[in-house]
Protein backbone atom coordinates (compact mmCIF):
# COMPACT_ATOMS: atom_id res chain seq x y z
CA UNK A 1 0.00 0.00 0.00
CA UNK A 2 2.76 2.38 1.01
CA UNK A 3 4.61 1.56 -2.20
CA UNK A 4 1.56 2.27 -4.28
CA UNK A 5 1.05 5.56 -2.48
CA UNK A 6 4.60 6.80 -3.00
CA UNK A 7 4.43 5.73 -6.63
CA UNK A 8 1.35 7.82 -7.18
CA UNK A 9 2.58 10.88 -5.31
CA UNK A 10 6.09 10.99 -6.74
CA UNK A 11 6.35 9.11 -9.98
CA UNK A 12 9.87 10.41 -10.48
CA UNK A 13 11.24 8.63 -7.43
CA UNK A 14 10.84 5.14 -8.85
CA UNK A 15 10.89 3.51 -12.25
CA UNK A 16 13.66 3.54 -14.84
CA UNK A 17 15.95 6.47 -15.54
CA UNK A 18 15.08 6.44 -19.23
CA UNK A 19 12.06 4.86 -20.90
CA UNK A 20 11.68 4.91 -24.68
CA UNK A 21 8.65 3.46 -26.43
CA UNK A 22 8.60 3.04 -30.24
CA UNK A 23 10.69 6.17 -30.52
CA UNK A 24 11.17 7.68 -33.99
CA UNK A 25 13.93 10.20 -34.20
CA UNK A 26 15.42 12.52 -36.75
CA UNK A 27 15.19 15.83 -38.46
CA UNK A 28 12.31 16.97 -40.60
CA UNK A 29 11.96 14.64 -43.58
CA UNK A 30 15.17 12.83 -42.58
CA UNK A 31 14.57 10.09 -40.02
CA UNK A 32 17.70 8.95 -38.22
CA UNK A 33 16.39 5.91 -36.36
CA UNK A 34 12.97 4.51 -35.61
CA UNK A 35 10.93 2.18 -33.47
CA UNK A 36 13.32 2.17 -30.52
CA UNK A 37 11.92 0.68 -27.33
CA UNK A 38 14.23 0.35 -24.35
CA UNK A 39 14.68 1.10 -20.69
CA UNK A 40 17.75 2.25 -18.82
CA UNK A 41 17.69 1.54 -15.08
CA UNK A 42 18.82 3.97 -12.43
CA UNK A 43 22.53 3.84 -11.70
CA UNK A 44 23.39 1.94 -14.87
CA UNK A 45 26.56 2.54 -16.87
CA UNK A 46 25.64 2.44 -20.54
CA UNK A 47 27.76 2.76 -23.68
CA UNK A 48 26.15 4.25 -26.78
CA UNK A 49 27.94 2.94 -29.85
CA UNK A 50 27.46 2.75 -33.59
CA UNK A 51 28.88 4.18 -36.80
CA UNK A 52 29.28 7.90 -37.46
CA UNK A 53 26.01 9.64 -38.26
CA UNK A 54 23.93 6.82 -36.78
CA UNK A 55 22.26 9.21 -34.34
CA UNK A 56 24.17 8.77 -31.09
CA UNK A 57 24.40 12.49 -30.38
CA UNK A 58 20.76 12.82 -31.45
CA UNK A 59 19.79 10.54 -28.57
CA UNK A 60 21.53 12.97 -26.18
CA UNK A 61 19.82 15.96 -27.75
CA UNK A 62 16.47 14.27 -27.16
CA UNK A 63 17.27 13.50 -23.54
CA UNK A 64 18.42 17.10 -23.00
CA UNK A 65 15.21 18.44 -24.51
CA UNK A 66 17.13 20.23 -27.28
CA UNK A 67 15.22 18.27 -29.93
CA UNK A 68 11.82 16.54 -30.02
CA UNK A 69 11.14 13.00 -31.21
CA UNK A 70 9.24 12.56 -34.48
CA UNK A 71 7.07 9.94 -32.83
CA UNK A 72 6.78 7.67 -29.81
CA UNK A 73 7.40 8.43 -26.16
CA UNK A 74 10.51 9.29 -24.23
CA UNK A 75 10.72 9.80 -20.48
CA UNK A 76 13.64 10.86 -18.31
CA UNK A 77 13.03 10.01 -14.65
CA UNK A 78 9.34 9.69 -15.45
CA UNK A 79 9.05 13.09 -17.13
CA UNK A 80 9.07 14.38 -20.69
CA UNK A 81 12.58 15.71 -21.44
CA UNK A 82 12.96 19.44 -21.03
CA UNK A 83 15.81 21.82 -21.72
CA UNK A 84 17.69 22.91 -18.62
CA UNK A 85 16.84 19.82 -16.59
CA UNK A 86 19.16 20.20 -13.57
CA UNK A 87 19.13 16.43 -13.05
CA UNK A 88 21.27 15.93 -16.16
CA UNK A 89 24.99 16.71 -16.41
CA UNK A 90 26.33 16.96 -19.95
CA UNK A 91 29.73 16.93 -21.65
CA UNK A 92 29.31 17.73 -25.37
CA UNK A 93 31.15 16.14 -28.27
CA UNK A 94 34.46 17.59 -29.48
CA UNK A 95 34.37 19.80 -26.46
CA UNK A 96 37.48 21.91 -26.16
CA UNK A 97 38.52 25.22 -24.72
CA UNK A 98 40.62 27.72 -26.64
CA UNK A 99 44.27 27.48 -25.59
CA UNK A 100 44.07 31.23 -25.05
CA UNK A 101 41.55 31.00 -22.22
CA UNK A 102 43.14 32.27 -19.02
CA UNK A 103 40.48 31.18 -16.55
CA UNK A 104 40.96 28.83 -13.60
CA UNK A 105 39.43 25.38 -13.99
CA UNK A 106 37.54 25.78 -10.72
CA UNK A 107 35.75 28.86 -12.07
CA UNK A 108 34.23 26.77 -14.86
CA UNK A 109 33.32 23.97 -12.45
CA UNK A 110 31.60 26.50 -10.17
CA UNK A 111 29.51 27.65 -13.11
CA UNK A 112 28.48 24.03 -13.58
CA UNK A 113 26.90 24.32 -10.13
CA UNK A 114 25.45 27.82 -10.16
CA UNK A 115 26.02 29.24 -13.65
CA UNK A 116 22.31 29.65 -14.32
CA UNK A 117 21.67 31.82 -11.26
CA UNK A 118 21.47 35.58 -11.30
CA UNK A 119 23.81 37.85 -9.40
CA UNK A 120 27.58 37.60 -9.01
CA UNK A 121 27.46 34.98 -6.24
CA UNK A 122 30.24 36.66 -4.29
CA UNK A 123 29.23 35.16 -0.98
CA UNK A 124 28.19 31.80 -2.37
CA UNK A 125 30.34 29.47 -0.32
CA UNK A 126 28.28 26.46 -1.43
CA UNK A 127 29.28 26.85 -5.08
CA UNK A 128 32.96 26.84 -4.14
CA UNK A 129 32.50 23.73 -2.03
CA UNK A 130 30.50 22.00 -4.76
CA UNK A 131 33.27 22.76 -7.26
CA UNK A 132 36.02 21.51 -4.98
CA UNK A 133 34.06 18.35 -4.23
CA UNK A 134 33.36 17.69 -7.92
CA UNK A 135 37.00 18.22 -8.89
CA UNK A 136 38.09 15.93 -6.07
CA UNK A 137 35.72 13.16 -7.12
CA UNK A 138 37.20 13.03 -10.62
CA UNK A 139 40.76 13.06 -9.27
CA UNK A 140 41.39 16.59 -10.51
CA UNK A 141 41.72 18.55 -7.26
CA UNK A 142 45.22 19.58 -8.33
CA UNK A 143 43.84 21.21 -11.49
CA UNK A 144 41.60 23.67 -9.58
CA UNK A 145 43.73 26.76 -10.03
CA UNK A 146 45.27 25.78 -13.38
CA UNK A 147 44.33 27.77 -16.44
CA UNK A 148 41.79 26.04 -18.70
CA UNK A 149 43.82 26.94 -21.78
CA UNK A 150 46.87 25.14 -20.45
CA UNK A 151 45.25 21.78 -19.72
CA UNK A 152 45.88 18.63 -21.76
CA UNK A 153 43.05 16.76 -23.45
CA UNK A 154 42.74 14.25 -20.62
CA UNK A 155 42.86 16.96 -17.95
CA UNK A 156 40.20 18.97 -19.76
CA UNK A 157 37.89 15.97 -19.95
CA UNK A 158 38.17 15.57 -16.18
CA UNK A 159 37.39 19.25 -15.66
CA UNK A 160 34.35 18.99 -17.97
CA UNK A 161 33.26 15.93 -16.04
CA UNK A 162 33.58 17.89 -12.80
CA UNK A 163 31.62 20.76 -14.35
CA UNK A 164 28.83 18.33 -15.23
CA UNK A 165 28.97 16.81 -11.74
CA UNK A 166 28.98 20.09 -9.84
CA UNK A 167 25.23 20.48 -10.27
CA UNK A 168 24.86 17.12 -8.50
CA UNK A 169 22.99 15.44 -11.36
CA UNK A 170 21.27 12.05 -11.36
CA UNK A 171 22.31 11.37 -14.94
CA UNK A 172 25.49 12.02 -16.90
CA UNK A 173 25.56 12.26 -20.70
CA UNK A 174 29.13 12.07 -21.98
CA UNK A 175 29.49 12.48 -25.74
CA UNK A 176 32.71 10.87 -26.94
CA UNK A 177 34.86 11.89 -23.98
CA UNK A 178 37.48 9.34 -25.03
CA UNK A 179 37.87 10.37 -28.66
CA UNK A 180 40.96 12.53 -28.23
CA UNK A 181 42.67 10.42 -25.60
CA UNK A 182 45.33 7.77 -25.98
CA UNK A 183 44.60 4.27 -24.71
CA UNK A 184 46.08 4.79 -21.25
CA UNK A 185 44.20 8.04 -20.62
CA UNK A 186 41.02 6.49 -22.02
CA UNK A 187 41.23 3.70 -19.48
CA UNK A 188 41.95 6.18 -16.67
CA UNK A 189 38.91 8.28 -17.55
CA UNK A 190 36.69 5.20 -17.83
CA UNK A 191 37.90 4.20 -14.37
CA UNK A 192 36.97 7.63 -13.00
CA UNK A 193 33.50 7.49 -14.60
CA UNK A 194 32.93 3.92 -13.43
CA UNK A 195 33.83 4.95 -9.89
CA UNK A 196 31.30 7.82 -10.08
CA UNK A 197 28.60 5.41 -11.26
CA UNK A 198 29.34 3.06 -8.37
CA UNK A 199 29.77 5.62 -5.58
CA UNK A 200 27.05 8.10 -6.53
CA UNK A 201 24.63 5.85 -8.35
CA UNK A 202 24.52 8.36 -11.19
CA UNK A 203 23.03 6.89 -14.38
CA UNK A 204 25.66 7.37 -17.08
CA UNK A 205 25.43 7.21 -20.88
CA UNK A 206 28.74 7.43 -22.68
CA UNK A 207 29.08 7.70 -26.46
CA UNK A 208 32.18 5.88 -27.66
CA UNK A 209 33.71 4.64 -30.87
CA UNK A 210 35.67 1.88 -29.24
CA UNK A 211 33.83 -0.38 -26.86
CA UNK A 212 36.94 -2.14 -25.57
CA UNK A 213 38.14 0.28 -22.85
CA UNK A 214 34.60 0.20 -21.43
CA UNK A 215 33.46 -3.35 -21.84
CA UNK A 216 34.30 -4.62 -18.35
CA UNK A 217 32.37 -1.85 -16.55
CA UNK A 218 29.21 -1.69 -18.62
CA UNK A 219 25.73 -2.63 -17.52
CA UNK A 220 24.20 -2.05 -20.93
CA UNK A 221 24.96 -1.15 -24.52
CA UNK A 222 22.79 0.96 -26.79
CA UNK A 223 23.89 0.03 -30.29
CA UNK A 224 22.58 2.33 -33.03
CA UNK A 225 23.11 1.39 -36.67
CA UNK A 226 21.28 1.49 -39.97
CA UNK A 227 18.27 3.27 -38.44
CA UNK A 228 17.82 0.58 -35.78
CA UNK A 229 18.54 0.53 -32.09
CA UNK A 230 19.48 -2.54 -30.05
CA UNK A 231 19.74 -2.33 -26.28
CA UNK A 232 20.79 -4.88 -23.73
CA UNK A 233 23.67 -6.39 -21.81
CA UNK A 234 26.93 -6.16 -23.79
CA UNK A 235 27.25 -9.95 -24.14
CA UNK A 236 23.72 -10.09 -25.58
CA UNK A 237 24.02 -7.14 -27.99
CA UNK A 238 27.59 -7.62 -29.16
CA UNK A 239 27.04 -10.92 -30.92
CA UNK A 240 27.22 -11.75 -34.61
CA UNK A 241 23.49 -12.63 -34.70
CA UNK A 242 22.26 -9.50 -32.97
CA UNK A 243 24.45 -7.09 -34.97
CA UNK A 244 23.62 -8.86 -38.24
CA UNK A 245 19.95 -8.27 -37.47
CA UNK A 246 20.70 -4.65 -36.57
CA UNK A 247 22.74 -3.77 -39.66
CA UNK A 248 20.72 -5.97 -42.01
CA UNK A 249 23.93 -7.31 -43.54
CA UNK A 250 26.25 -10.05 -42.24
CA UNK A 251 28.36 -8.83 -39.33
CA UNK A 252 30.80 -10.87 -37.32
CA UNK A 253 31.97 -10.23 -33.77
CA UNK A 254 35.43 -11.60 -33.03
CA UNK A 255 37.03 -11.98 -29.60
CA UNK A 256 40.73 -11.93 -28.90
CA UNK A 257 42.51 -13.70 -26.08
CA UNK A 258 42.37 -10.66 -23.77
CA UNK A 259 38.63 -10.15 -24.03
CA UNK A 260 38.79 -7.38 -26.66
CA UNK A 261 36.24 -7.56 -29.41
CA UNK A 262 36.44 -6.62 -33.06
CA UNK A 263 33.35 -6.06 -35.20
CA UNK A 264 33.76 -6.99 -38.86
CA UNK A 265 31.25 -6.11 -41.56
CA UNK A 266 28.35 -3.72 -41.26
CA UNK A 267 27.96 -0.71 -43.47
CA UNK A 268 31.05 0.92 -42.08
CA UNK A 269 33.53 -1.81 -41.12
CA UNK A 270 36.26 0.68 -40.27
CA UNK A 271 34.15 2.40 -37.63
CA UNK A 272 32.85 -0.87 -36.28
CA UNK A 273 36.32 -2.18 -35.76
CA UNK A 274 37.71 1.01 -34.30
Amino acid sequence: MATVLSRSTDPAAVGPAIRARSLDVGYRKKPVWHGATFEIGRGEFVAVIGPNGAGKTTLFRLLLGLQRPLGGDLEVFGEVPRRGNPRIGYVPQRHTIDADTHVAAESLVQLGATGTRLGPGLADRAQREAAAEALGSVGAADLATRSLGGLSGGELQRVFLAEALAGNPDMLLLDEPLSNLDLRRSRELVEVVHELVRSRGVTTLLVAHDINPLIKCLDKVIYIANGNVATGRPEAVLTSESLTALYGVPVEVLHDSRGNIVIVGGENPHEGAA
Partner: protein
Protein backbone atom coordinates in the same frame (compact mmCIF):
# COMPACT_ATOMS: atom_id res chain seq x y z
CA UNK B 1 47.89 77.02 -15.21
CA UNK B 2 50.35 75.81 -12.61
CA UNK B 3 53.58 73.94 -13.21
CA UNK B 4 54.12 70.31 -12.34
CA UNK B 5 55.12 69.64 -8.75
CA UNK B 6 55.91 66.27 -7.25
CA UNK B 7 52.94 66.66 -4.94
CA UNK B 8 50.35 64.89 -7.06
CA UNK B 9 47.44 65.85 -4.82
CA UNK B 10 48.27 69.53 -5.27
CA UNK B 11 48.65 68.99 -9.00
CA UNK B 12 45.24 67.35 -9.25
CA UNK B 13 43.65 70.11 -7.18
CA UNK B 14 44.99 72.75 -9.47
CA UNK B 15 43.65 70.88 -12.51
CA UNK B 16 40.27 70.43 -10.89
CA UNK B 17 39.83 74.18 -10.55
CA UNK B 18 38.76 74.00 -14.18
CA UNK B 19 35.30 72.59 -14.92
CA UNK B 20 36.38 70.92 -18.14
CA UNK B 21 39.08 69.00 -16.27
CA UNK B 22 36.66 67.96 -13.52
CA UNK B 23 34.25 66.74 -16.18
CA UNK B 24 37.02 64.89 -17.97
CA UNK B 25 38.08 63.09 -14.79
CA UNK B 26 34.50 62.27 -13.78
CA UNK B 27 33.36 60.98 -17.16
CA UNK B 28 36.72 59.28 -17.67
CA UNK B 29 36.38 57.42 -14.38
CA UNK B 30 32.94 56.06 -15.25
CA UNK B 31 33.95 55.14 -18.79
CA UNK B 32 37.13 53.42 -17.56
CA UNK B 33 35.29 51.25 -15.04
CA UNK B 34 32.53 50.28 -17.48
CA UNK B 35 34.96 49.59 -20.34
CA UNK B 36 37.29 47.61 -18.09
CA UNK B 37 34.45 45.44 -16.76
CA UNK B 38 32.70 44.75 -20.06
CA UNK B 39 36.09 44.38 -21.75
CA UNK B 40 36.67 41.22 -19.74
CA UNK B 41 33.68 39.63 -21.44
CA UNK B 42 34.80 40.98 -24.81
CA UNK B 43 38.11 39.16 -24.38
CA UNK B 44 36.47 35.99 -23.04
CA UNK B 45 33.86 35.87 -25.82
CA UNK B 46 36.43 36.85 -28.48
CA UNK B 47 34.18 39.72 -29.52
CA UNK B 48 37.07 42.08 -30.22
CA UNK B 49 36.11 42.41 -33.86
CA UNK B 50 32.47 43.09 -32.96
CA UNK B 51 33.69 45.79 -30.57
CA UNK B 52 35.84 47.34 -33.26
CA UNK B 53 32.95 47.20 -35.73
CA UNK B 54 30.45 48.72 -33.29
CA UNK B 55 32.79 51.66 -32.80
CA UNK B 56 32.90 52.25 -36.54
CA UNK B 57 29.15 51.85 -36.90
CA UNK B 58 28.90 54.42 -34.12
CA UNK B 59 31.06 56.76 -36.16
CA UNK B 60 28.39 56.88 -38.87
CA UNK B 61 25.74 57.50 -36.25
CA UNK B 62 27.71 60.33 -34.72
CA UNK B 63 28.39 61.85 -38.14
CA UNK B 64 24.69 61.66 -38.95
CA UNK B 65 23.81 63.33 -35.64
CA UNK B 66 26.27 66.13 -36.36
CA UNK B 67 24.70 66.61 -39.79
CA UNK B 68 21.24 66.96 -38.23
CA UNK B 69 22.50 69.13 -35.39
CA UNK B 70 21.86 66.56 -32.66
CA UNK B 71 24.19 65.59 -29.81
CA UNK B 72 26.55 63.00 -31.38
CA UNK B 73 26.10 60.62 -28.43
CA UNK B 74 22.47 60.01 -29.46
CA UNK B 75 23.56 59.15 -32.99
CA UNK B 76 26.19 56.85 -31.52
CA UNK B 77 23.66 55.14 -29.26
CA UNK B 78 21.14 54.70 -32.07
CA UNK B 79 23.61 53.18 -34.51
CA UNK B 80 25.57 51.02 -32.05
CA UNK B 81 22.45 49.52 -30.46
CA UNK B 82 21.01 48.92 -33.92
CA UNK B 83 24.26 47.36 -35.10
CA UNK B 84 24.61 45.35 -31.90
CA UNK B 85 21.10 43.97 -32.26
CA UNK B 86 21.81 43.00 -35.85
CA UNK B 87 25.04 41.23 -34.92
CA UNK B 88 23.36 39.37 -32.06
CA UNK B 89 20.57 38.18 -34.34
CA UNK B 90 22.90 37.19 -37.17
CA UNK B 91 24.47 34.43 -35.16
CA UNK B 92 25.52 33.65 -31.65
CA UNK B 93 28.64 31.71 -32.59
CA UNK B 94 31.45 34.23 -32.48
CA UNK B 95 33.48 32.28 -34.99
CA UNK B 96 30.91 32.64 -37.75
CA UNK B 97 30.21 36.32 -37.24
CA UNK B 98 33.30 37.98 -38.66
CA UNK B 99 32.24 37.85 -42.28
CA UNK B 100 28.77 39.30 -41.69
CA UNK B 101 30.09 41.96 -39.36
CA UNK B 102 32.73 42.98 -41.86
CA UNK B 103 30.14 43.25 -44.62
CA UNK B 104 27.87 45.53 -42.62
CA UNK B 105 30.84 47.47 -41.27
CA UNK B 106 32.09 48.47 -44.72
CA UNK B 107 28.66 49.77 -45.71
CA UNK B 108 28.24 51.70 -42.47
CA UNK B 109 31.59 53.43 -42.88
CA UNK B 110 30.52 54.51 -46.34
CA UNK B 111 27.37 55.94 -44.83
CA UNK B 112 29.47 57.86 -42.31
CA UNK B 113 31.53 59.33 -45.13
CA UNK B 114 28.47 60.65 -46.98
CA UNK B 115 27.13 62.19 -43.76
CA UNK B 116 30.43 63.95 -43.26
CA UNK B 117 30.61 65.27 -46.81
CA UNK B 118 27.03 66.55 -46.58
CA UNK B 119 27.97 68.37 -43.40
CA UNK B 120 29.62 71.65 -44.29
CA UNK B 121 31.02 72.36 -40.85
CA UNK B 122 34.54 71.94 -39.61
CA UNK B 123 36.57 68.77 -39.82
CA UNK B 124 37.15 68.99 -36.07
CA UNK B 125 33.79 67.30 -35.48
CA UNK B 126 34.90 64.22 -37.39
CA UNK B 127 38.28 64.37 -35.74
CA UNK B 128 36.81 64.35 -32.25
CA UNK B 129 34.56 61.38 -33.08
CA UNK B 130 37.51 59.45 -34.46
CA UNK B 131 39.97 60.25 -31.69
CA UNK B 132 37.87 61.38 -28.75
CA UNK B 133 37.31 64.71 -27.09
CA UNK B 134 37.60 64.05 -23.39
CA UNK B 135 38.31 67.71 -22.61
CA UNK B 136 35.05 68.77 -24.24
CA UNK B 137 32.53 66.91 -22.10
CA UNK B 138 29.74 69.10 -20.72
CA UNK B 139 28.11 68.84 -17.27
CA UNK B 140 25.08 67.26 -18.92
CA UNK B 141 27.39 64.86 -20.73
CA UNK B 142 28.92 63.77 -17.43
CA UNK B 143 25.49 63.15 -15.94
CA UNK B 144 24.41 61.08 -18.94
CA UNK B 145 27.66 59.10 -18.78
CA UNK B 146 27.15 58.35 -15.10
CA UNK B 147 23.56 57.22 -15.67
CA UNK B 148 24.51 54.98 -18.59
CA UNK B 149 27.49 53.60 -16.67
CA UNK B 150 25.45 52.71 -13.61
CA UNK B 151 22.87 51.03 -15.85
CA UNK B 152 25.43 48.92 -17.72
CA UNK B 153 27.21 47.86 -14.52
CA UNK B 154 23.94 46.97 -12.77
CA UNK B 155 22.78 44.74 -15.63
CA UNK B 156 26.22 43.11 -15.89
CA UNK B 157 26.18 42.37 -12.17
CA UNK B 158 22.73 40.82 -12.46
CA UNK B 159 23.55 38.51 -15.39
CA UNK B 160 27.17 37.94 -14.33
CA UNK B 161 27.05 34.17 -13.85
CA UNK B 162 24.86 33.26 -16.85
CA UNK B 163 26.93 35.57 -19.08
CA UNK B 164 30.20 34.09 -17.83
CA UNK B 165 28.83 30.56 -18.26
CA UNK B 166 27.68 31.22 -21.82
CA UNK B 167 30.98 32.94 -22.64
CA UNK B 168 33.13 30.07 -21.35
CA UNK B 169 31.08 27.03 -22.28
CA UNK B 170 28.34 27.80 -24.77
CA UNK B 171 27.17 24.24 -25.43
CA UNK B 172 26.78 23.24 -21.80
CA UNK B 173 25.20 26.56 -20.86
CA UNK B 174 22.62 26.05 -23.59
CA UNK B 175 21.86 22.51 -22.47
CA UNK B 176 21.45 23.81 -18.94
CA UNK B 177 18.62 25.98 -20.20
CA UNK B 178 20.22 29.43 -20.50
CA UNK B 179 18.62 31.61 -23.20
CA UNK B 180 21.65 32.04 -25.45
CA UNK B 181 20.12 34.41 -27.97
CA UNK B 182 18.74 36.70 -25.26
CA UNK B 183 22.05 36.71 -23.36
CA UNK B 184 23.98 37.54 -26.50
CA UNK B 185 21.53 40.29 -27.37
CA UNK B 186 21.71 41.84 -23.90
CA UNK B 187 25.49 41.67 -24.01
CA UNK B 188 25.69 43.34 -27.41
CA UNK B 189 23.33 46.10 -26.26
CA UNK B 190 25.40 46.74 -23.14
CA UNK B 191 28.52 46.76 -25.28
CA UNK B 192 26.86 49.26 -27.63
CA UNK B 193 26.04 51.61 -24.75
CA UNK B 194 29.52 51.25 -23.24
CA UNK B 195 31.14 51.97 -26.62
CA UNK B 196 28.97 55.01 -27.26
CA UNK B 197 30.23 56.65 -24.10
CA UNK B 198 33.81 55.46 -24.44
CA UNK B 199 33.93 57.20 -27.82
CA UNK B 200 33.79 60.55 -26.00
CA UNK B 201 37.04 59.67 -24.27
CA UNK B 202 39.21 57.93 -26.85
CA UNK B 203 37.17 58.01 -30.07
CA UNK B 204 36.08 55.17 -32.32
CA UNK B 205 39.55 54.44 -33.65
CA UNK B 206 41.12 54.04 -30.24
CA UNK B 207 38.27 52.19 -28.57
CA UNK B 208 40.38 49.03 -28.30
CA UNK B 209 42.63 50.73 -25.79
CA UNK B 210 39.79 50.81 -23.25
CA UNK B 211 37.71 47.81 -24.31
CA UNK B 212 40.37 45.20 -25.00
CA UNK B 213 43.84 46.19 -23.77
CA UNK B 214 43.03 46.42 -20.01
CA UNK B 215 41.16 43.09 -20.03
CA UNK B 216 43.87 41.42 -22.12
CA UNK B 217 46.32 42.64 -19.47
CA UNK B 218 44.15 41.43 -16.59
CA UNK B 219 43.72 37.85 -17.83
CA UNK B 220 47.50 37.52 -17.78
CA UNK B 221 47.62 38.51 -14.13
CA UNK B 222 44.84 36.45 -12.56
CA UNK B 223 42.77 33.44 -13.53
CA UNK B 224 39.81 34.29 -11.34
CA UNK B 225 37.14 36.10 -13.36
CA UNK B 226 36.09 38.53 -10.62
CA UNK B 227 39.69 39.48 -9.83
CA UNK B 228 40.41 39.86 -13.53
CA UNK B 229 37.45 42.22 -13.87
CA UNK B 230 38.71 44.36 -10.99
CA UNK B 231 42.24 44.43 -12.44
CA UNK B 232 40.89 45.27 -15.89
CA UNK B 233 38.85 48.19 -14.57
CA UNK B 234 41.85 49.38 -12.54
CA UNK B 235 44.16 49.34 -15.55
CA UNK B 236 41.63 51.31 -17.61
CA UNK B 237 41.12 53.75 -14.74
CA UNK B 238 44.84 54.28 -14.24
CA UNK B 239 45.37 54.79 -17.97
CA UNK B 240 42.73 57.52 -18.14
CA UNK B 241 43.80 59.34 -14.99
CA UNK B 242 47.46 59.18 -15.86
CA UNK B 243 46.70 60.14 -19.46
CA UNK B 244 44.73 63.21 -18.38
CA UNK B 245 47.40 64.08 -15.86
CA UNK B 246 50.20 63.99 -18.42
CA UNK B 247 48.11 65.81 -21.02
CA UNK B 248 47.68 68.69 -18.57
CA UNK B 249 51.40 69.38 -18.69
CA UNK B 250 52.19 68.19 -22.20
CA UNK B 251 49.87 69.82 -24.71
CA UNK B 252 49.16 66.78 -26.84
CA UNK B 253 45.82 64.95 -27.19
CA UNK B 254 44.90 63.06 -23.98
CA UNK B 255 43.73 60.11 -26.12
CA UNK B 256 47.31 59.55 -27.20
CA UNK B 257 48.58 59.37 -23.62
CA UNK B 258 45.68 57.16 -22.53
CA UNK B 259 46.24 54.53 -25.22
CA UNK B 260 50.01 54.68 -24.81
CA UNK B 261 49.83 54.13 -21.06
CA UNK B 262 47.37 51.24 -21.47
CA UNK B 263 49.61 49.66 -24.08
CA UNK B 264 52.72 50.15 -21.95
CA UNK B 265 51.08 48.30 -19.06
CA UNK B 266 50.10 45.50 -21.42
CA UNK B 267 53.66 45.26 -22.74
CA UNK B 268 55.12 45.09 -19.25
CA UNK B 269 52.68 42.37 -18.19
CA UNK B 270 53.14 40.31 -21.38
CA UNK B 271 56.86 40.83 -21.78
CA UNK B 272 57.92 41.18 -18.16
CA UNK B 273 57.92 37.47 -17.32
CA UNK B 274 60.03 36.65 -20.36
CA UNK B 275 62.51 39.38 -19.50
CA UNK B 276 62.72 38.18 -15.90
CA UNK B 277 63.13 34.65 -17.14
CA UNK B 278 65.94 35.59 -19.48
CA UNK B 279 67.66 37.59 -16.73
CA UNK B 280 67.37 34.65 -14.36
CA UNK B 281 68.99 32.37 -16.89
CA UNK B 282 71.77 34.90 -17.46
CA UNK B 283 72.50 35.21 -13.77
CA UNK B 284 72.22 31.49 -13.08
CA UNK B 285 73.09 29.63 -16.27
CA UNK B 286 73.66 26.37 -14.38
CA UNK B 287 70.50 26.59 -12.25
CA UNK B 288 68.44 24.55 -14.70
CA UNK B 289 65.97 23.42 -12.03
CA UNK B 290 64.89 26.92 -11.00
CA UNK B 291 65.10 28.28 -14.55
CA UNK B 292 63.03 25.39 -15.85
CA UNK B 293 60.40 25.83 -13.19
CA UNK B 294 59.84 29.49 -13.89
CA UNK B 295 59.92 28.87 -17.63
CA UNK B 296 57.18 26.33 -17.10
CA UNK B 297 55.18 28.79 -15.10
CA UNK B 298 55.12 31.42 -17.80
CA UNK B 299 54.64 29.11 -20.76
CA UNK B 300 52.33 26.45 -19.36
CA UNK B 301 51.06 25.39 -22.77
CA UNK B 302 54.25 24.06 -24.28
CA UNK B 303 54.26 20.60 -22.76
CA UNK B 304 50.58 19.88 -23.18
CA UNK B 305 50.04 21.42 -26.61
CA UNK B 306 50.87 18.23 -28.43
CA UNK B 307 48.11 16.30 -26.74
CA UNK B 308 45.33 18.65 -27.67
Amino acid sequence: MTAFSWNIVTDLRSMWQYAFMRNAFEAGTVVAIVAGVIGYFVVLRRSAFATHALGHVGFSGAAGAVLFGVNPVYGLLLFTTGGGTGMALLGRRASTRDIEIGTVLAFMLGLGLIFLSLYNGYATEAYSILFGEILGISDAGVLLTVEAGVFVLAVLLLIYRPLLFSSLDEDVAEARGLPMLALNLVFMLLLAVAISFAVQVVGVLLIFALMVTPAATAVRLTRRPLYAIVVSASVALFSIWAGLFVAWYEQYPPSFFIVTIAFAIYLVVRGGPFVLDALERLVRPSGRATGGRSAGRFTPNTETEAER
